[in-house]
């Protein structure tokens, strides 16, 4: 079978080559005196045809499939950047279309004609000044608008913001919340990381006692969130497409991104008409074999539901009581209270301490 295909391909190539040779020889017999090849007019026509077809294809697809290539937006700053995106789009499409039409029209209109002489046009300062100034002014407006938005997005978070830590590693994300009652995440150190203490929690810091790990990124709607992002091994990048959030996760450097979700998952399900809709988080910095699979679930709930959920989570220390031994002696009692392990019951406390000493 393969042999037949192979022979077929060779034969076709041979025939094409023969046609090429013959037309070539015919071409040689004809005079070579023409200034341009006979295809000149054809190419001029094709240039116009290409322009008309491709521009109409562009406008048609962009209009008809608008919903399939635009992602719904669900964050406060996302609406502003989207607006800026579309303003830029209008400017660009107008400029693109005008220049493209002019260029391809010129190639068609001024194709070679016997006896036609080109204009000797060296320069025109007025024209050049005008078309330098127009893009400069448009650029200035875009920059002005863009920078104001950028400064707002990257400015400091408000005091009310919820701190959430995202940690990237090959090839999954982990998320840490600062506990049920405060917004302080405990310190960490990469040297303390082990298979269980995956955050590298520093248990000499009081703030780490009530921190908890979550299986998804839970966010309250209409509440500012400050993501504190880090990576354990190589670069990763937090990408929350619906919230227009993207920030690299860098080993050895903390990065942040603040934003305010504006629609709960349920609202989005209604809005998109897709009952299975879920927010997702992806990685957008090449990080190795599993780069394409670093999916993490994101759930946006009402503020009440969020508080309920948050209160129901067990602290990391409570789930891993063996690590009590890392807590300094003088803080152990406090740790038991903060981590949610019953401190008033003497036996419980002793049990914990015993298990520590047994390890």
């Amino acid at each position: 079978m393969n042999l037949i295909i192979g022979i077929g391909v060779v034969l076709i190539l041979a025939i094409v080559f023969m046609i090429f040779r013959i037309t070539n020889l015919v071409g040689l017999v004809k005079s070579d005196k023409e200034a341009v090849s006979s295809g000149n007019g054809i190419h001029a026509f094709l240039m116009m045809a290409f322009m008309v077809l491709s521009l109409s294809g562009f406008f048609w697809y962009s209009y008809v499939h608008f919903d399939s290539y635009t992602l719904p937006v669900a964050s406060e700053h996302g609406m502003i950047t989207d607006h800026l995106f579309w303003v830029t789009m209008v400017i660009c499409v107008v400029a693109f279309a005008v220049i493209s039409i002019a260029m391809f029209w010129f190639t068609y209109k001024y194709q070679y004609r016997e006896g036609q002489k080109a204009a000797y046009l060296v320069d025109n300062h007025m024209l050049e000044i005008i078309w330098t100034l127009i893009p400069a002014v448009v650029m200035a407006l875009l920059i002005f608008r863009g920078l104001r938005v950028w400064n707002e997005i990257t400015g400091p978070a408000t005091k009310e913001a919820i701190n959430i830590e995202l940690v990237g590693q090959q090839f999954y994300w982990t998320v840490r919340y600062p506990g049920a009652s405060d917004e302080n995440l405990g310190k960490f150190d990469f040297r303390l990381i082990d298979p269980i203490n995956e955050f590298g929690l520093d248990l000499t810091d009081k703030n780490s006692f009530d921190d908890f790990k979550a299986d998804a990124l839970y966010l309250p709607v209409d509440q500012e969130v400050l993501l504190k992002i880090r990576a354990k091994d190589v670069l990763h990048s937090v990408f929350l497409p619906h919230f227009r959030v993207k920030m690299d996760a860098v080993p050895g450097m903390l990065t942040t991104f603040k934003f305010k979700p504006t629609k709960t998952t349920e609202q989005m399900r209604t809005e998109t008409g897709n009952p299975k809709f879920n927010y997702e988080m992806a990685c957008t910095e090449i990080c190795g074999k599993g780069h394409f699979s670093m999916k993490f679930s994101v759930v946006v709930v009402s503020q009440a539901e969020y508080q309920k959920w948050r209160a129901s989570q067990d602290s990391w220390l409570k789930l891993n009581p063996g690590y009590m031994k890392m807590v300094p002696e003088n803080l152990r009692e406090y740790a038991l209270i903060r981590s949610g392990m019953e401190p008033d019951n003497g036996s419980a406390e002793q049990g914990v301490l015993k298990s520590v000493s047994n390890r």
């Binding site: 054809i42 995106f85 080109a118 046009l121 060296v122 670069l235 227009r244 860098v250």
Partner: protein
């Protein structure tokens, strides 16, 4: 350096005083270790074409995965062996290696060495009126360093752990830790060695280009009379000379981090069950160093293509290039700005947001000279008398790509908008059009245009036309749909998107892109056939087949070593006297004095006739040295 240059130059000059004298050497000195700039240019061209074929094939392999994720690629096993998994798919780690190698090969080996190396070498001496480069020996070294570099990179494709796989930007820690990805082992070592050699090659070449342009212009070839190609090559070489050493530094530090335990770029890493001893380094530092080269590199790739296009569009429109001074000025402006925009690649890397503001401002400024260039090209076409040679069509294609791809820079350069688009397919579409395809078209246009001077024969124009239309439409079909995919948020360097509900669409567009990529690659074989066939069997070319004005067309059909038999011609006018009113023909070569063209001279040009008379001592470049 200067004395050495002059010495070499003197020798070649003397050789050629015996007019019909030819250089006799054996095969090795003539074709392999040649110091002749034309031979070296052809060496760069052929090597670049070989690399382009490899780079293009790699891209088609990963496009197969993206366009037909369900298809079995078992039939590639004879070539890829173990990189095809048991269920007939490309290994996801090898996928990244393919992407990395495609990027590295195309940016450095094809569009830097293949484009600049070919046309700077070929055209600089021919268009400024010099016998050869300032230092033929350094020029030869430049090629052979490139060849050595190529060997290392090529070897890395075949090792068991695979070539480098951390992206062409080789960001550490991924590129520094073999635990993180296999390709960061031996593959990355070979990558770094190869790049170090490549940088040496680029610097040797660049110094030569600059020296030749400044010192060896023929009598009358003032800077303001230089063709735009030469200006473009000049700026390119200067940019390369200033930026490549920074990449060399970055590569060296990365080698230290990888092999000698330093911590320039590494810090706080826990991988494969252990905490590494590195502290205090910064991966962001590497990104700054990389992009300090990386962004100028974009213009190293693009400016020569723009120069070539300027020349071809003017010649085939039979019109002077519109706004010569503005063209030079905008290139100069772009060259300067190219050094202060690098961090727009890093808006969301955790860099200080204030820096983001500065780089947004500087980046969008660069759009102004770029827009001026496009307007000037379009105006050059206006009221021309356009001949659609293959070279001309590829040049028009370049302008179209430069526009389509360049304009999306307004989105990406604006930091607030870039947050969403960064590292999505929108970026892939942007740079493949504006720098990849545009520069590639510049290179192909240059080959079609100067082929008669390189090989003394014409390429087949009909095949050239077919090649153009397949490639032009093909490239648009490949990269235009990527804008939509990018706006929808699809991240780049993804092996598959089906894990995500958000990205679980556009199978149709991805298939279209892949099919277009395959057709485009196959269209290049038409070019290859045309190229090699025409070297031996093409129609014989006349000395000046396009009716062009520049100096290279005053050489004989096959210029020998030394380029001009007899004296180097003197230049009397600029390079763009096409369709001058009153002139007998629609072009006046640069070597025709104004005294011979009273019918077409402008008033101020008539005054120059007096200067021409006393030319013996008026503008001396060459004669004085001997």
């Amino acid at each position: 350096m200067a004395t050495a240059d002059i010495k070499v130059h003197t020798e070649t000059h003397h050789d050629d005083h015996g007019h019909d004298h030819e250089h006799h050497g054996n095969f090795w000195t003539n074709y392999v270790f040649s110091e002749d700039h034309k031979v070296i240019a052809k060496q760069f061209l052929i090597t670049g074409m070989a690399w382009a074929l490899i780079g293009g094939t790699l891209s088609v392999i990963f496009r197969l995965q993206l366009g037909f994720p369900e298809a079995s690629l078992e039939w590639l096993r004879p070539v890829l062996g173990g990189w095809i998994t048991v269920d007939g798919k490309i290994d996801s780690e090898f996928y990244l290696a393919l992407v990395t190698m495609h990027g590295t090969i195309m940016v450095f080996f094809v569009l830097t060495a293949g484009l600049s190396g070919t046309f700077s070498n070929f055209l600089i001496p021919l268009q400024v009126g010099a016998r050869d480069m300032a230092s033929g020996f350094m020029n030869m070294l430049s090629y052979w360093f490139f060849f050595a570099s190529s060997c290392f990179m090529f070897t890395s494709l075949f090792i068991s752990t695979g070539p480098a796989g951390g992206g062409w930007t080789v960001y550490p820690p991924l590129s520094a830790l073999p635990q993180a990805i296999q390709g960061s082992g031996l593959g990355m070592t070979l990558w770094l060695i190869s790049m170090a050699l490549f940088i040496v090659s680029t610097l040797l070449g660049g110094i030569n280009y600059i020296t030749t342009i400044i010192n060896m212009r023929t009598s009358g070839m003032s800077f303001t009379r230089m063709p735009l190609t030469i200006w473009a090559f000049f700026f390119t070489a200067v940019i390369g000379l200033l930026s490549f050493p920074v990449l060399f530094g970055a590569a060296l530090l990365l080698i230290f981090d990888r092999s000698f335990g330093t911590s320039f770029f590494l810090s706080d890493i826990y991988i494969a069950g252990e905490a590494l001893p590195h502290v205090g380094g910064s991966p962001i530092l590497f990104q700054h160093l990389f992009w300090f080269l990386g962004h100028p590199e974009v213009y190293i790739v693009l400016l020569p293509a723009l120069g070539i296009t300027s020349e071809i569009i003017a010649t085939n429109s039979r019109k002077p290039i519109f706004g010569y001074k503005a063209m030079v000025g905008s290139m100069l402006f772009i060259a300067i700005l190219s050094f202060v925009v690098w961090a727009h690649h890093m808006f969301v890397t955790g860099m200080n947001p204030f820096l983001g503001s500065i780089f947004t401002l500087l980046t969008l400024i660069i759009a102004v000279p770029s827009a001026v260039k496009i307007f000037n090209y379009v105006t050059t076409l206006w009221k021309g008398n356009i001949r659609f040679t293959a070279a001309m069509m590829f040049s028009i294609g370049l302008v179209s790509f430069f526009l389509t791809g360049g304009i999306t820079g307004l989105f990406l350069g604006n930091s607030a908008v870039d947050i969403q688009l960064h590292d999505t397919y929108f970026v892939v579409a942007h740079f493949h059009l504006v720098m990849g395809s545009a520069s590639f078209f510049g290179m192909v246009a240059g080959v079609y245009h100067w082929f008669p001077k390189m090989f003394g024969r014409m390429m087949d124009e009909r095949l050239g036309g077919i090649h153009f239309w397949l490639t032009f439409v093909g490239v648009y079909m490949v990269f235009f749909p990527m804008h939509y995919i990018g706006i929808a948020g699809f991240p780049r360097r993804y092996y598959s998107w089906t894990n995500f509900e958000t990205f679980n669409s556009f199978a149709d567009l991805n298939m279209l892109v892949s099919v277009a990529a395959i057709i485009t690659l196959f269209a290049q074989f038409i070019f290859l056939f045309n190229f090699f066939y025409s070297i031996f069997r093409g129609r014989k070319a006349s000395a000046n087949p396009w009716g062009a004005t520049t100096l290279e067309w005053t050489t004989p059909r096959l210029p020998q070593h030394g380029n001009w038999p007899g004296e180097i011609p003197t230049v009397y006018r600029w390079a763009y006297d096409y369709s001058k009113p009153g002139a007998k023909e629609d072009f006046i070569p640069q070597t025709i004095p104004y005294s011979e063209t009273p019918e077409s001279n402008l008033p101020h040009e008539n005054e120059l006739i007096k200067l021409e008379m006393g030319n013996g001592g008026a503008i001396v470049v060459d004669d004085k040295k001997h």
